[in-house]
């Protein structure tokens, strides 16, 4: 009898009876796994996040991230990592050493930088400008969220989903509203996966057939103006260095993200002499960081934190932020077209929201549907890549003003 009672006490059955929210969270985790595995929504991130959600909501497993209140001590001190591991288990050890410190997002940006080729952007440099207009959703949703009762920090973390950049959204949220990290990360990655749905939707609502038929290569032939690059390798090496320094002077709080992005890009472009480094940055470091980021971000989503009205607002707001950003990019092109003879296809603005290179592929497919000779992929890539810089800059502004 005593044995059976002890056996029952050991199980988590009573916890589920006391708090059925755990079961709901397990269902949500399983649904996210379904999205990642079957629907192939950004599986590299969504699968670890989803599994982290499941681990965190197995009561008694000690794999859920605990509130910072349990970590903070008096006098501005915190528990140290050894104490965190002993008191709260390995998932909190991971979360507080790798995520809460703001460490992993810049590390992932280093890997992304080492995977990014700035070539398409350099060849169509003017289009890079539309990466700015496509940050509109960030700030519009920020305003809307404040109107709905979010604090400024929470609203900024919600808005940054409109940057369409996972690590940037995570980094900003860590700095401003860590209690919303789970839903914001999931919204960011889910909507990135839904870009093939969201872009056509916004384009259909805002662009005329005539605009979508604007033929980028014909325009280039009609109004040739582009600088020819005589030594691409030298330009590609100089570009991240100069850019990094100048941007950082204007938005210093973006240095951890943009600095690491451009460092990764630099070691990529230097090539063979530092190939060991770029292999590590894009290989073991990036992959390891992705696993631990995913698991521990997912593990922040315990029933208590997630089952909150704000989560639904994040789901809705994140979608709006995406849509408004795409709208901003399109409007940026339309306004420009009012003043220039050399017209730009508005699809090259829609791709300003990051989500490299998926946004460009989607935009290209739309253009080809209207005119099968209108290959605009290379043009879209320019604003697409500059959108990464744009959202990191926007994040820097938000962090600088609100932290």
């Amino acid at each position: 009898m005593g044995i059976l009672e002890n056996l029952y006490k050991m199980t988590a059955i009573q916890d589920f009876i006391n708090n059925p929210g755990y079961l709901l969270m397990l269902a949500i985790g399983s649904f996210l796994l379904y999205l990642g595995i079957r629907k192939q929504y950004e599986p590299l991130l969504l699968v670890p996040i989803a599994f982290g959600v499941i681990l965190a909501n197995l009561p008694g497993g000690g794999m859920g991230v605990v509130s910072a209140d349990l970590i903070n001590l008096e006098g501005g001190h915190t528990k140290n990592l050894l104490e965190i591991a002993q008191d709260h288990g390995i998932m909190n050890f991971l979360y507080y050493s790798l995520i809460k410190t703001g460490f992993l997002p810049p590390i992932i940006f280093m890997g992304i930088g080492a995977l990014t080729d700035f070539g398409p952007m350099l060849r169509n440099l003017r289009l890079a400008f539309f990466g700015a207009a496509a940050q509109l959703g960030i700030f519009i949703v920020l305003i809307a969220a404040i109107a709905l009762g979010f604090t400024a920090k929470e609203a900024a973390s919600l808005g940054i989903i409109g940057g369409a950049d996972g690590p940037t959204a995570i980094y900003t949220t860590i700095k401003l509203a860590p209690h919303l990290l789970g839903p914001i990360a999931i919204a960011a990655y889910s909507y990135m996966a839904l870009v093939p749905v969201i872009i056509p939707l916004v384009v259909r609502l805002t662009c005329s057939k005539k605009e979508l038929l604007i033929h980028m290569k014909d325009m280039d032939k009609q109004y040739p103006s582009k600088l020819k690059i005589k030594n691409l390798r030298a330009v590609k090496i100089a570009f991240p260095i100069v850019l990094g320094i100048i941007i950082s002077i204007f938005v210093p709080s973006a240095v951890p993200l943009l600095g690491m992005l451009l460092f990764g890009n630099l070691i990529k472009e230097i090539g063979v002499n530092v190939a060991r480094l770029s292999e590590a940055a894009t290989g073991s470091i990036l992959n390891t960081a992705t696993i631990f980021l995913g698991l521990s971000v997912g593990a922040t989503m315990t029933a208590e934190v997630f089952l909150d009205f704000k989560t639904i607002m994040i789901v809705v707001g994140g979608f709006l932020a995406f849509a408004v950003s795409i709208f901003g990019g399109i409007m940026g092109v339309k306004v420009t077209n009012l003043f220039t003879k050399k017209k730009i296809n508005p699809l090259c603005g829609a791709t300003g929201l990051s989500a490299v290179p998926m946004a460009s592929r989607v935009a290209n497919d739309i253009a080809l549907k209207y005119d099968s000779s209108n290959h605009i992929l290379q043009y879209c890539m320019s604003s697409n890549i500059s959108g990464v810089i744009g959202s990191a800059v926007a994040a820097g502004v938000l962090i600088s003003f609100l932290q």
């Binding site: 890079a128 990466g131 404040i146 604090t151 030594n231 570009f239 204007f250 090539g271 800059v393």
Partner: protein, 86 residues
């Protein structure tokens, strides 16, 4: 409303900053290209020789040839995990 004031200011500051920065990206990129075109128009030969080393031009046909060669001599036991251009 104070929070809303901040929000509106952020809309202003944020969008202006992003526009300035991406304008700088365009301008700096242009300047770098012009600078490089003027002062180092050709990939310098020393560096070029070295840099070709860095872009392993092993095309897929060659890979297929290698893979099949490997399979043959190893009777199916070997696999080419990685081929690096030296």
């Amino acid at each position: 409303m104070n929070e809303m004031g901040i929000a509106l200011e952020l809309l202003g500051v944020g969008m202006v900053t992003v526009f300035i920065i991406l304008a700088l990206v365009v301008i700096l990129g242009d300047l770098i290209i012009r600078f490089v075109n003027k002062f180092m128009p050709e990939p310098e030969k020393v560096s070029a020789a070295k840099s070709t080393v860095s872009v392993p031009e092993i095309n897929s046909k060659k890979i297929a040839a290698i893979v099949s060669a490997v399979s043959k001599v190893t009777n199916g036991g070997g696999r080419v995990v990685n081929i690096e251009k030296l």
